[in-house]
Amino acid sequence: MTTTSRWRALTHHHLFWPVAVLVVLLLVNVPFTPDFFSIRMTDGHLYGSLVSIVLFGSPLILVAVGMTLVIATGGIDLSVGAVVAITGALTCSYISDQADQNALSAVFLAMGVGLVAAVVCGLWNGFLVARMGIQPIIATLIIMVAGRGVAQLITDGKIITINSEPYKLIGGGYWLTLPFSIFVVAAVVAVTVALTRRTALGLLVESVGGNAEASRLVGIRSLRIKIMVYVFCALCAGIAGLMISSNTSAADGNNAGLWIELDAILAVVIGGTSLLGGRFSIGGTVIGALVIQTLTTTIYTIGVPTQTNLVFKAAVVIIVCLLQSPKFRAKVFGAKFGSKSGATGGGTSPATPAKTATTPEAAPKMEVS
């Protein structure tokens, strides 16, 4: 019976389904790209499909991590794509004005300017949501729509190309043979996990998401928590904006980070964070973002016709979301899974009812939290 219980503990782990989907998606690529998992050295850095997935997925991971905390408070932030565009536009236009684009001080100052703008956007969102009591979807819609206009105003409607080696490092460069962006993402994720899981902050965020009014009554400054998560989310989007513009050494006010907010929300959902707020999983979000990036890469490599790209993507996302639903799993896989694990342990019949009996119980519980 130990194998059964281990198997059940594994399938019931909240990261099991996202990881399973990620592994399946990666394996799908193998017949189309035989050396999909191979990684080799090219020009002093590692090169391979897995490296590009992490490299191109880094901005999405960052945005999604920020989005996770906002969603955990029961909010949503639609403005991240515009913040990506504004940060990239400001930073690149500052660097392009410099006589020496390779000067470190100028690059740091430019990045500072961009990130300050991102924080201002976050403060504005937080102010509208927490102080003015406006629905998050409406409050953040303002910057989502207007922000892209601001970005185009900064770039004068043109694509600003820069030629700065130090700036190229953050989103397109390599350090210790790995893409530098991996280190940035690792640092942000580590800090976020440490702050939310090693201190009470994560609990406070979940409490605000569960019931903001009740949290306030027990003495949690829920307004401050809310403003903080919007600022954090905008800051993550700002760093992602630096990465995206650095990756192509250009700021494109119109297209940088376009629709990244939707991909980020999707990543959060795939990672198992409830859109109702009240509980979140940073690890799940990172896996979710990697699933989306792998899916995008898969579409490019397996030769899905361009016209059907989005249908293919939608089909996969629907399957992933259904797999995440305990009710769906109980209906479709319940019996199958039960018999499979039951067979290793002994009889088929006792495992099946046990499985179906526990799942309906578990399902409503998850909805409440």
Binding site: D252, T296, T306
Partner: protein, 336 residues
């Protein structure tokens, strides 16, 4: 409490909406008033632009404004911000103001019949620029001034022949194609034109091994090309539907340790400045120009239409093709 919250939500919504509408409103171009002589009534041209989505588009806008100034016309310019309703309301306001000629770059191909009929009833001639429309009544617009995207695709295939010859490439050619935004006219027609020539002259030796959309952006081009290089490491040629995707792809090719322009030959369409810079560095082999500077041609047509002369249904933009050896000479003349 709840009421107050709802009220605030509504108030902000209204403010935001008015703000956005204000942005979409036309602004009388400053270029109009300060030129021309005092005597004689100036020709008034109402121009509705798609938006400012790319460097190509802003060069297009600048060209129209400058040409109108040089011709001494009063230009009423409006930016539709990629929305058809903004464009329709701009055209309506031009009709009410009674401008002499209306010109516009349609955001989408369909849905223009009603507003164009209103213009026709007021006897205001309509000239399309850059993109065409589908209408039931051909008399609703006089002419289209713009590029022939299908021909650009054909020209790209023709210039690729020269590029291959120059590079001394022998044997079968494996081509990767970076398409524009799915469903956009330039993407569909450039692919069509390229395939036409390929099927006719190179059915045996050329083959498009991979083709995906890069959404006309650098980031898209880079990401898609990185994936292409993994699944098809033996690509010989890249055909990108615009320079920006080509520039993104160049970065991906370099990251893979290959030499763009040598290991992989690159042909792109558009001819923006950054494209020419890449070509002068030897990273792009040939560029098929898609000229946004159609202002002077437009003004010529507008004058003819105003004078009642008959014009062709489609006035094609003057465009040329550039090989690598011409890049350095042409670079200083690129304005956009």
């Amino acid at each position: 409490m709840l009421n107050r919250r709802n009220f605030l939500t509504a108030a902000v919504g209204v403010v935001a909406a008015t703000g956005l509408a204000a942005c979409a409103k036309e602004d009388d171009s400053s270029s109009s008033s300060d030129s021309g002589s005092g005597g004689g009534k100036k020709l008034v041209l109402g121009f509705s632009q798609v938006g400012s989505e790319s460097g190509w588009r802003s060069a297009n806008t600048d060209s129209v404004k400058e040409a109108a100034k040089e011709a001494g016309y009063t230009l009423k310019f409006s930016d539709a911000q990629q929305k058809q309703e903004n464009q329709i309301s701009a055209i309506r306001s031009y009709i009410t103001q009674g401008v002499d000629v209306i010109a516009f770059s349609p955001v989408v191909v369909t849905g223009w019949d009603a507003v164009l009929k209103e213009a026709k009833a007021k006897k205001i001639p309509v000239v399309l620029t850059d993109r065409s429309v589908e209408t039931s009544d051909e008399s609703l617009f006089v002419t289209l001034v713009g590029s022939d995207f299908t021909d650009e695709g054909r020209r790209a295939a023709k210039i690729l022949e020269k590029v291959l010859e120059k590079a001394g490439h022998k044997g079968p050619v494996k081509i990767a194609q970076l398409e524009g935004t799915t469903g956009a006219a330039p993407a569909i027609e450039r692919a069509k034109g390229f395939k036409e020539v390929m099927d006719a002259d190179h059915a045996d030796d050329w083959k498009i091994v991979v083709s995906q959309t890069g959404d006309f952006t650098r980031a898209g081009g880079k990401q898609v090309m990185a994936a292409f290089l993994q699944s098809n490491p033996d690509i010989d040629v890249l055909f990108a539907h615009n320079d920006d995707m080509g520039i993104g792809a160049i970065q991906a090719i370099e990251a893979a340790g290959k030499k763009p322009g040598k290991d992989i030959l690159i042909v792109t369409v558009d001819g923006v400045k950054d494209g020419f810079i890449a070509m002068s560095e030897g990273k792009i082999n040939a560029i098929v120009e898609c000229n946004p500077l159609l202002g002077p041609q437009l003004m010529e047509v507008v004058q003819k239409v105003k004078d009642g002369e008959t014009v062709e249904r489609w006035i094609k933009t003057e465009e040329s093709d550039f090989m690598q050896d011409q890049a350095k000479a042409a670079l200083p003349t690129r304005k956009y």
